[in-house]
């Protein structure tokens, strides 16, 4: 009997791995605490994938395991066709990384820091990093200890966006940035993704994830809770409606009335009722609510835009930011 595990020629198989992040059963414990349950992922090629989850959900551990900064206890991973092995140096040569924690060498200038971070990446990457840093308005001749938190973050992002690689892994890349700088960084990421780079972006900020990511992976307590595309999130948004009523309205009674219109799932909070429908189009339900004689007129109706925050809330039971 002949067994053929992969019928494609080896070259084509390698090409298929280009720009992809593949994870199989990756596990990590810290003492008795399970930081990462066995997890499987297939990311890329191309596009920006958001990694979401509350603090301690395993996001940073997963990213560090992918790069060999933390040794996984079990499982395998590959980035851009290179398997994670040993201390992960080959993987780190194929991707760029921006750590979540900001700890830099304060005695170095911004310029020297970029050179230090990009050691082993070549002169082209250094030149590109300087270019990005100047675009972001960083004072490269000043010592890093004089930088603000946001400037340090931008320096790390500039270092991560400079190397000519197919995969970038960014942990909290916009944390601590003001809205204009955050917008600038997100534009850089979008432009990079448009050139064919695969970006894995860990974040707490639902707004930015909603804006740039075409896929979302939710983690909690080291487990993958959900893996959704932007399209599926948009579809979910079409099924969710948030009504806000006046302060004196009888919310309990209104909730009962809403349930009579159609079989729905309701979440009541204060004067707000979130309705989750089973069908894809919520507009007939909204029309029924607005024309009902037993339900007072809602103060506001939000539809099709709250999905990610609601999803975060559904998955973790807490509000996202």
């Amino acid at each position: 009997m002949q067994t053929v595990s992969d019928p494609r020629p080896p070259v084509l198989a390698a090409e298929a791995e280009e720009g992809r992040i593949v994870v199989r059963g990756l596990t990590r414990r810290f003492g008795r605490k399970v930081a990462l349950e066995p997890i499987d992922l297939d990311i890329g090629p191309r596009g920006i994938t958001g990694l979401l989850g509350p603090n301690g959900s395993g996001k940073s551990t997963l990213l560090r395991c992918l790069l060999g900064i933390v040794r996984p206890d079990a499982g395998s991973a590959s980035i851009d066709g290179v398997a994670l092995a040993g201390d992960g140096v080959k993987v780190r040569q194929r991707c760029a990384y921006s750590p979540g924690e900001i700890a830099l060498y304060g005695e170095l200038t911004g310029h020297a820091h970029l050179e230090w971070c990009l050691r082993g990446r070549g002169r082209t990457a250094e030149a590109r990093a300087l270019e990005i840093a100047r675009e972001l308005g960083l004072p490269l001749d000043r010592r890093v200890r004089a930088y603000s938190h946001g400037m340090k973050r931008q320096l790390l992002v500039a270092a991560a966006l400079a190397p000519d690689v197919r995969v970038r892994i960014l942990d909290e890349a916009t944390e601590g940035l003001d809205p204009s700088k955050r917008g600038a960084v997100l534009e850089l990421l979008s432009a990079d993704a448009a050139r064919g780079t695969t970006i894995l972006l860990s974040s707490h900020h639902l707004g930015e994830v909603d804006r740039v990511c075409d896929r979302l992976i939710f983690l909690n307590e080291g487990k993958k809770l959900a893996d959704e595309t932007a399209a599926s999130v948009a579809a979910r948004a079409q099924r969710s409606v948030r009504f806000t009523f006046s302060e004196d309205a009888d919310i309990e009674r209104i909730a009962t009335e809403l349930g009579r219109i159609e079989q729905v799932r309701l979440v009541v909070e204060g004067e707000r009722i979130d309705v989750h429908l089973d069908r894809d189009d919520a507009r007939p339900f909204i029309a029924a609510v607005c024309t009902s004689k037993t339900i007072p007129r809602p103060r506001t109706i939000e539809f099709g835009a709250l999905s990610l925050a609601q999803m975060y809330r559904e998955l973790y039971g807490v509000d996202g930011c």
């Binding site: 810290f30 900064i69 040993g86 201390d87 140096v89 780190r92 924690e101 700890a103 020297a112």
Partner: protein, 253 residues
């Protein structure tokens, strides 16, 4: 590499200047010390310390240089510096949170650690050789002389001893998170070792027996290194280095 090399050279320069200042002061004091040496020896109650004076009686300026430069200068300042240079090698990065960014670069951990070890070792041993090289010239200021080669051998022996202290501290730093704690522990151990060297009943337990005036005297008399001691210390350094690599390969930021 450029930044780390610059730091290592600055450290070596600072440490070397202090060591040289101690050496200059000691040699310039020789003309005043020489006539009263017999008197001082008679006043010393311990046979341990009297032995040091006996060595100087027998070998003259060479024993004095061994005592002042190697035993006093290198074994006090040198040991402290070896510990201070190694304590933050990895633990310092962990403490200030830069370990992650250090490891995130596309360089192997083996290479990162080897570079750091070698640059630190260079800063520890280079001043020993550099300051010893100035001894023949300094001795001419006090109408004494000493050949160069015995000083090179003594420097090599001293450097190997300091390298052993540095390697042990380096290993501790690879496993630890708090550089100050590492420094306190290592300085405590070495201070204790130096203290028991001067206590005649337990002096044979002291590590400083490996680098005292008698050992340097014997090396200079034979014209070659003390192979058993030197090889043992080098083997210890190698074990510490391999263990450091093993620990560092498993280290989590």
């Amino acid at each position: 590499m450029g930044r780390e090399l610059k730091v290592a050279l600055y450290r070596a320069l600072g440490y070397g200047l202090v060591l040289e200042a101690m050496l200059v002061a000691a040699i310039l004091y020789w003309p005043k010390f020489k006539p009263v040496m017999g008197l001082l020896k008679a006043m010393v109650p311990s046979w341990m310390i009297r032995g040091l004076f006996d060595a100087q009686d027998a070998a003259g300026i060479a024993a004095y240089v061994n005592l002042q430069h190697f035993f006093k200068g290198c074994n006090t300042l040198g040991v402290a510096v070896s510990i201070l240079f190694a304590m933050g090698a990895v633990a310092g990065e962990a403490q200030r949170g830069t370990l992650e960014i250090w490891l995130a670069r596309p360089l192997s951990r083996r290479r990162i650690l080897t570079e750091r070890y070698l640059l630190g070792a260079l800063a520890v041993v280079l001043p020993v050789f550099a300051t010893s090289a100035t001894i023949p010239w300094l001795l001419t200021r006090v109408d004494e002389s000493m050949p160069h080669w015995p000083l090179v051998l003594s420097s090599a022996h001293q450097a190997i001893f300091l390298l052993a202290i540095y390697s042990a501290t380096f290993l501790y730093s690879c496993a630890g998170h708090k550089p100050m704690q590492i420094a306190f522990v290592m300085l405590g151990i070495t201070s204790f070792q130096l203290a028991i060297y001067l206590v005649q009943d337990v002096t044979h337990w002291s590590l400083f027996r490996l680098v005292d005036v008698r050992v340097f005297g014997a090396i200079q008399a034979r014209g070659c290194l003390d192979a058993p001691i030197a090889l043992s210390l080098l083997a210890f350094c190698a074990v510490c280095f391999v263990a450091s690599q093993w620990v560092f390969a498993r280290r989590t930021p």
